[in-house]
């Protein structure tokens, strides 16, 4: 089990530690609901040291990445980033990630902790002459500072070090990286620095007023915004088109990308399922991963929730599920089975909040 460079600080702050993607990580400090609201209304700080940081470099790295990933890499200028996906040959998702262009020959990729090894072996198998892949994951720790007051917090802390513009990236000469991105739907930034220096950043950011937040709040915050979690809402058996991520899939790139033929064929024949946002309509327990979704008239099971929780903002159970297209329209009523009882739910528009 890997330990974050911030592990001791989590213990001092009274965090509850759980295993996640091979790491011991804080699930919560004071409580998921308080941490969730801090990020929606003020500012919170998450340890994201478990996430992977890869660098791809070489004269033709932009072209290489454009063939590897779904979004249009050629649209990026220096210092810009984009959400994108890496697919297998059948169009299924290997990983979703943020790609940043440092300069025309160097790109920075932030990938899911659970997929670092798989990503590296996939990219390595696709590598072309003149392109190199560097794994910075062991050397970097990371902190996500998120919330409407995140930018003001940083500006007071480091007035001489401006944040990049939205979705952008900047690097300091010492190797510290700032990204204006996150996974909460709020403004904010992600800071990556060497494992030796990350602890001091965490102390300073918390001392400046950011509430320490765990993976529990990270999950409710991203779910309220309808952001998928790889391994739950995304997997090798579903395409990004089924996941509703078509905006990040540029099928008109002149040379295509790995998986694009499969996506074009799926578009032609029709999507077998769609990842929809589901919300309970009455008083009911929170939703959970794997709860069954059923057609209320026939009782037929249509699918299972890939994510589920209670929305702290709405006070009601929310989740996501792959459903047949006939049931994927906003407003469609169905039921969710919880401990043998049926609770009414409906398809709603993303985001929930």
């Amino acid at each position: 089990m890997n330990r974050s460079p911030l592990h001791e600080k989590h213990l001092e702050l009274g965090a509850r530690i759980v295993p996640f993607a091979g790491w011991e990580m804080p699930i919560q400090y004071t409580g998921i609901v308080a941490e969730h609201h801090a990020v929606r209304k003020d500012v919170g700080a998450f340890d994201i040291s478990h996430m992977g940081e890869l660098e791809i470099s070489g004269k033709t790295s932009g072209l290489f990445l454009n063939g590897l990933l779904t979004n249009d890499v050629s649209a990026l200028s220096d210092g810009e980033g984009q959400y994108t996906l890496m697919l297998n040959g059948e169009g299924g998702v290997i990983d979703d990630l943020i790609l940043y262009r440092l300069d025309s020959e160097r790109y920075f990729l932030v990938v899911n902790a659970s997929k670092i090894d798989e990503d590296i072996s996939w990219i390595t198998s696709q590598l072309e002459p003149g392109i190199s892949l560097t794994n910075h994951s062991d050397g970097y720790g990371g902190i996500a500072v998120q919330g409407p007051n995140a930018v003001a917090l940083w500006e007071a802390l480091e007035p001489g070090m401006p944040l990049p513009k939205r979705n952008g990236i900047s690097e300091s000469p010492l190797g510290m990286v700032l990204c204006r991105t996150g996974y909460t739907g709020e403004d904010g930034f992600e800071l990556f620095d060497s494992v030796d220096r990350i602890g001091e950043w965490f102390d300073r950011i918390v001392a400046a007023g950011a509430m320490p937040c765990g993976l529990g709040a990270r999950d409710t915050l991203r779910l309220e915004k309808g952001y998928p979690l790889n391994g739950s809402d995304l997997d090798g058996a579903h395409t990004p088109l089924e996941a509703g991520l078509g905006f990040f899939v540029k099928l008109d790139k002149p040379d295509g990308f790995t998986g694009s033929d499969a996506l074009l064929a799926q578009k032609e024949s029709g999507l077998p399922s769609r990842l929809v946002a589901v919300k309970l309509t009455g008083k009911a327990p929170p939703l959970r991963h794997d709860y069954e979704v059923a057609d209320p008239s026939s009782g037929a099971v249509l699918g299972k929730l890939t994510s589920g929780s209670l929305s702290p903002t709405l006070g009601v159970g929310i989740g996501m599920a792959y459903l047949p297209p006939a049931f994927a329209k906003v407003g469609t009523q169905f039921s969710i089975l919880i401990r043998g009882r049926e609770f009414p739910a409906e398809v709603v528009k993303k985001p929930f909040v």
């Binding site: 699930i27 409580g31 609901v33 969730h36 529990g216 409710t220 327990p285 929170p286 929780s309 209670l310």
Partner: protein, 126 residues
């Protein structure tokens, strides 16, 4: 952690107050509520249900997970705390008083001897 002297505890962190064996309140300990944090939903049994010690009598849900609550004693459920179904916050804020979940008419008062007293329960928490 608050562990009142007058209550008896199960290792699964429920308490019972056997003072009135015809309607003994049952709830979860301060330690259990702190571990769960943010209780958001509670499912209670029907009045009249007959339970054995160790049976699941309620489901309590935090934002993150659903947990079974086990009866520390055998008997019949004679009352449930309906107010908690609408607003479960007292389970976190007042677990030994307004946070009680069910009252049980004990069928075997000798079972109380098999539970932990305050000192013994504090020991398993430490």
């Amino acid at each position: 952690m608050n562990v009142p002297e007058n209550l008896h505890y199960a290792e699964s962190h429920e308490w019972v107050n056997p003072e009135n064996p015809d309607a003994a309140p049952v709830g979860i300990s301060d330690h259990a509520q702190a571990e769960l944090s943010d209780v958001v939903y509670l499912e209670l049994p029907a009045v009249g249900t007959v339970v054995s010690r160790g049976d699941s009598i309620a489901v309590i849900e935090s934002v993150k997970a659903a947990n079974d609550i086990y009866s520390p004693v055998s008997g019949e459920i004679v009352e449930v705390n309906e107010a908690l179904v609408e607003a479960p916050e007292p389970i976190n804020t007042d677990p030994y008083e307004s946070g009680w979940m069910v009252k049980i008419k004990l069928s075997d008062t000798s079972e109380i001897e098999g539970l932990l007293d305050s000192a013994a329960y504090q020991k398993i928490l430490s």
